[in-house]
Amino acid sequence: MVRTALDQPALELQSIKKSFGGVHALKNVTFKINKGEVVGLLGDNGAGKSTLVKCISGIHAPDEGEVKVNGEAVTITSPEEARAVGIETVFQDLAMIPEFNIVQNLFLNREIKHKNPILRWLGWLDTKAMMKRAKKSLNRLNTRIPSYDEQIHNLSGGQRQAIAIARAVNWGADIVIMDEPTAALGVEQSAQVNELIKVISSQGVAVLLISHNMQHVKETCDRAVVLYQGHSVADVAVADVTKEDLVALITGATTAAA
């Protein structure tokens, strides 16, 4: 199941460093993700996972190091810039407006405007076109939605997760970062989200998956990168290691593997 045959790097990180005051959150992080690959980002609390995610998604700027997207060096200093180079983040709180329906959430700040130039200038919404596009993109991800008029707060956690992922892909992301997508989900819904991750990676999207759940990592990821005290200490093919190996790497019991 290793899908690295393409071997075209979508995202490359080289010696990323970030400190806050005297605290060195990231000391040296280096790894890459190829197109269509799902890479798990593992590490104990405080290992630097969330800082790294914030550095890639533009919430923090790294102090040192190089970020390359599709082979080109980029500087990302804001979420807008991250989005512009094709990086989308599915946040743990999903960044949804509870009162909005599915279509309204999918197109928030990316609305399709009316075809008529005057109405378009006013910012008049083309709700039919958005509905059509929403159906298309959710169908492409094999996501079944009861009703597109449903408000987000009436949906299950798995459905919301699916919509957040669909929104990321819908906005043309080449790289999708997911922060604990199944943390709050039951078994069946977790399986659906895993399925969804496979679908989008098969469409060429590179996925960086932050997870605590070793089972989840074994099931969905091609490779796993382990952070330990701000260093990337291991980069292994998931098929080559056991869950116990991964746990040993996370806790620092073994420092290098594979």
Partner: protein, 322 residues
């Protein structure tokens, strides 16, 4: 069969929509007064036209306040903005023409809204406290400006446009109400701007994560609320042929009640313009009914307070459920 169930669903949706209770309350109150006041002129077209004309400033304020509430702010300074804008407009009319006077009055709203917005967003203090403060300041300025004297308006064109006029048999105050209501409805329901306003009120951090400029949108919403209050001041001045520091003084509670009972959430994220308009008409109708029943001003105030509590109670209950 399919079309039938579709239209049935539509009716069901309409009837059980969260905003829908304003229609029931409106009808209930109307029926109540129609029965109680059956020997008066309550249930006549001309009386209802009077209600609409008298409440026009309130309606405009309610529509403006809806924007502030939609982003999750409250604006307590609207009542004092009405008075100051009306006075400035009336004073300017003594020296210049209508365009400059109107511009001057609306600029007052613009300035107050900007001050409100910048203070709330820069200091990160609750809008309740900031606008309570600006309300005091603006009330003071309005009293000081003419030493509590009222300013008469003799400009016939002004009182026509902003008060007593009729266009093709339609009172201009009704035209103002419909025009402002329609614009606000379109902005909030049909334009991307309105979507963004509601998003900011619904979940500010999500709105920010999606790249919306939350601070700017909130300031725009407060500007809308203040400028609407300025326009309401002009409508008062036009109808009453003059301005006085007491204008708008007692309106704040009524306007908040009208907006809240119309289905707009007092906590942001949900706004209903038609509800705000109907809510203000409802308040006008209750006033009218209470006057025709012979209640005093004091008793009317009590009734308004009770209605506000009921409206907020419904709102809070919905918040917990939703």
């Amino acid at each position: 069969m399919n079309a039938q169930s579709l239209s049935f669903n539509y009716v069901k949706q309409l009837a059980f929509k969260r905003e829908a209770y304003i229609y029931y309350i409106f009808l209930f109150v109307m029926l109540f007064f129609a029965v109680v006041l059956h020997d008066t002129a309550f249930l006549t077209v001309s009386n209802f036209m009077n209600i609409v004309k008298q409440t026009a400033p309130l309606t405009i304020m309610a529509v403006g306040l809806t924007f502030a509430l939609a982003v999750g702010h409250i604006d307590l300074s609207i009542g004092s903005t009405v008075a100051l804008s009306a006075l400035v407009g009336a004073l300017l009319l003594q020296h210049t023409g209508i365009p400059l006077a109107v511009l001057g009055a609306l600029t007052i709203g613009l300035i107050i809204g900007l001050i409100n917005g910048l203070l709330i967003e820069r200091l990160q203090v609750s809008s309740l406290l900031i606008t309570l403060g600006t309300m005091g300041v603006v009330t003071g300025i309005a009293r000081q400006l003419t030493n509590l004297e009222s300013v008469p308006i003799i400009n016939q064109d002004f009182t026509f446009i902003f008060g007593a006029g009729n266009l093709l048999g339609i009172p201009v105050l009704l035209i103002w109400t419909i025009a402002i209501g329609a614009i606000a409805y379109i902005v909030l329901n049909k334009l991307a701007k309105g979507r963004h306003i509601l998003a900011v009120g619904g979940n500010p951090s999500a709105a920010r994560a999606m790249g919306l400029q939350v601070t700017k949108i909130r300031i725009y919403a407060l500007l809308t609320s203040s400028v609407a209050a300025s326009l309401a001041g002009l409508l008062y001045a036009g109808r009453l042929h003059g301005a006085r520091y007491t204008l708008g003084e007692a309106d704040l509670l009524t306007v908040i009640a009208a907006v809240a009972i119309g289905g707009t959430s007092l906590f942001g994220g949900r706004a209903c313009i038609i509800g705000a308009i109907l809510g203000s008409w409802l308040m006008g109708m209750i006033n009218n009914g209470l006057i025709l029943s012979g209640f005093s001003t004091n008793e009317q105030m009590i009734a308004r307070g009770v209605i506000l509590i009921i409206a907020v109670a419904i709102g809070v209950k919905e918040l917990r459920n939703g």
